[in-house]
Symmetry: C4
Subunit: 258 residues, 4 copies
């Protein structure tokens, strides 16, 4: 059998996206994206989501209305097959939908799966995320490369980091690196990977004037970390409007009765 020259698998492999189980990635991605659309995270076909199960990666296509996506719209690729490819940009899909193009987010999702063994990665265009990166631009001396906030309960919604157990504490400072946007989304990949190397424990990277990538060990963790982060971004913007600082020095309260 001659390999297909156009990056498409010879067989349709439609069975990979057909399941009666609502928890199957091909069903879960559409239902998650419909929810994200309502939250304003994937407006106007922006943003996206991807789930990895063992070797298989399921990805929403480019240019789809996220609240109307169907399981049959989903791309599937193999991490192992992809790793053997000499050209990172030539991706071989096990299964492609008939009428869409692959998402430009694909190599960024793959970075989370390969460098962090994530089970799910979510990309939002939430305007709270964009506003946070814009507010940071007004701060000089390299301070705009990190979003930092502490002493907010919702910070507990984040894991301590890659291969570490437990979650951040109330007094811990959550640090999310910010990378500059590039003209082409695929070109973000090397900068996202750099940020992952420099901040090995982060579960998210902000992209200036663009949005945020958030991942987690599984769908549950990626989604709830993404919700917690959007909550903190919204709070941070509202704090800025009220002239309240994101970082404070608070004396821990000690319980009297141990």
């Amino acid at each position: 059998m001659t390999p297909p020259s156009n990056g498409q698998a010879a067989e349709s492999n439609d069975h990979l996206v057909q399941s009666d189980n609502p928890e199957h990635p091909a069903n879960l991605i559409p239902s998650l994206c419909a929810k994200f659309w309502t939250l304003g995270w994937v407006t106007g076909t922006g943003g996206g989501a991807s789930i990895r199960e063992d070797d298989l990666v399921y990805i929403a296509p480019s240019g789809v209305q996220k609240e109307l996506m169907k399981p049959s719209d989903i791309y599937v690729l193999s991490l192992a097959a992809q790793a053997q490819s000499l050209d990172r940009r030539n991706r071989v899909y096990l299964r492609s939908p008939p009428s869409y193009k692959p998402s430009q987010c694909t190599p960024l999702f793959l970075a989370a799966f390969t460098k962090r063994r994530a089970g799910c990665c979510i990309h939002t265009h939430s305007h709270w995320a964009v506003l946070v990166t814009l507010i940071l631009e007004t701060q000089g001396a390299g301070k705009d490369r990190e979003f930092r906030i502490n002493n907010i309960e919702q910070i507990k919604g984040f894991g301590k980091g890659f291969e570490k157990s437990g979650n951040l504490g109330y007094h811990d400072t959550l640090v999310i690196p910010v990378i500059e946007n590039t003209a082409h989304e695929e070109d973000l990949t090397e900068f996202l990977e750099e940020a992952m190397d420099k901040y090995p424990d982060t579960y998210a990277v902000l992209v200036r004037r663009h949005g945020v990538y958030v991942w987690g060990d599984n769908v549950h963790k990626a989604k709830t970390q993404c919700e917690s982060l959007d909550y903190l971004f919204q709070l941070a913007v509202e704090m800025k409007q009220l002239n309240l600082p994101w970082i404070t020095d608070i004396e821990p309260v000690t319980p009297r009765k141990p």
Copy 2:
């Protein structure tokens, strides 16, 4: 058969709005408008939407509660028949609902269909659109006739222009012309057409203190461009509240690994 004198077709032609296909324009306009009502785009019977399929134009009526619209509420007219009419304001409907009046937006929708060969046109009263036109009023020297924003990822949600392929880039400046509102909505038509002539590549025109008209080659493109634009209008208002400029000069980031 004597032509009807009252601008109504002699036959009811109800079959034109009866279909089991949810993608039929007579079904799609109500479902779209219900979604738009939830987004705050068509509050209090304001705003509307129209779809063109070849020669036939489907239009929501005037004064209808947009989240409650039914396929039987839809007007249908023929572009060819309309073109032969000597009086632009005398429109002959192939099919009229029994208990509504035609939308005052009709000639504005027709402008998008005839001058830009659009397949769908959406009119919203989104208060983000209205606020953008109000903020622009505070800027003198004719600067209030254009909304301009650049270096925001969501700008990629717009096509490059009429009969051009491809989309705008991240560093491109999105320019949306602003026309002044008139006492009667039909009177906007000539100014909308003027703006289309002056800005041949725009897919939208803002109407001061009123809202926005957005179109696209088909329903998908009109809707996603309208969502992207509303996203940008909201972002622009929030940027204004935070004293962040809409236009910036940013050095493009070049990928190191080509």
Copy 3:
């Protein structure tokens, strides 16, 4: 048959609230209130709605969770019977629900029905309405007794006034009177009636630090006027945050091609 002494009809008259027609007032009030709850108009059992059909008035009870209301929760009274009552505060209900108390809004709804022949009256606690009355408080010299806005398209959503045909125009100034809140909601009635006398063409009265009463000839008009008003209140608050004036002097734009 001895008349009931406790203001309750001897018979249950449950048939008055039982109908398969979704447009029946006893079905419509719950579905409207569920929608209003989502809009933030009737949070925490605040606000309410009433519909009149000829002599019969249907009213949501006091203290009910508005998104959970059922047709069997509805009160029904007769306008004619109420008019014969010597004591305005002693209302005889044709039908009462078993486990609720009558709404304190009842005499205010009745004022709209008797003084304006309204078919529906809506009372919201929308915080946009409350904020508008709070902003007005900061303006002295009696200027706080009226909300005024002009040159916004959505103003066209209001009728010209009681027994007048046609709607307000874009350049017309919408004037909504503001009355002071009283400790007991029933005590608002005389002030609401005074405002109706002083502003015979208004379809709404703002209540300081409380909310708004909006009515219309029928459910459609009351609801769409209430939506348009809430839209304008929200816009007015956002304009205030951006230092944009509510009243402007704009030269009308004349169409060149008549």
Copy 4:
């Protein structure tokens, strides 16, 4: 039968969370939490809710996605059994879900049930609540330990206090105590109980940079008080943005016709 050593009941007691009645606590907690998720109160697994029926307490587990909760996820414990336990921190559950951990909110919910005989307690991370506590931080001299607001109609949504009948009036000042957040949520318990002792009539306690606990005699009262409070917190933040004071001195309006 030897008592289980790990804080789990020997029997599964699954029948305690199985009912066809939508008003059963095991059904009501998931439907309430789904609604709260939509309101932004329980984002990212934050917040929670608990219902008491006589001796039995039903509690949402820790770490669950609140809009996806199922009746089988609910913990059940006995107040009487808990009262006999020498160690407050060792709780014996009559029924535990197979795959979750108990909520850290449990001792705080129990405080409302035992010290106030509440029938329901709700904990939200609403960012309006958090913002109010942040704004209060900017006020010195101990003024940051109470949220105070008066002369807003929605204040009537609160009961006068523990074992008192009737509700607050329009001119009454609603006072909600604020306690400092602790690193571990369970450690809040003693401070919450202290606040209950110091403010015996309050139905809510704010937790700095964290959220709010709200309770009521039953589900209806806890939920509507929580809604009213969130409404007031949102209003208070918006008033702050517009430089409007939370406390004012207003002359009561007296009705002329008694």
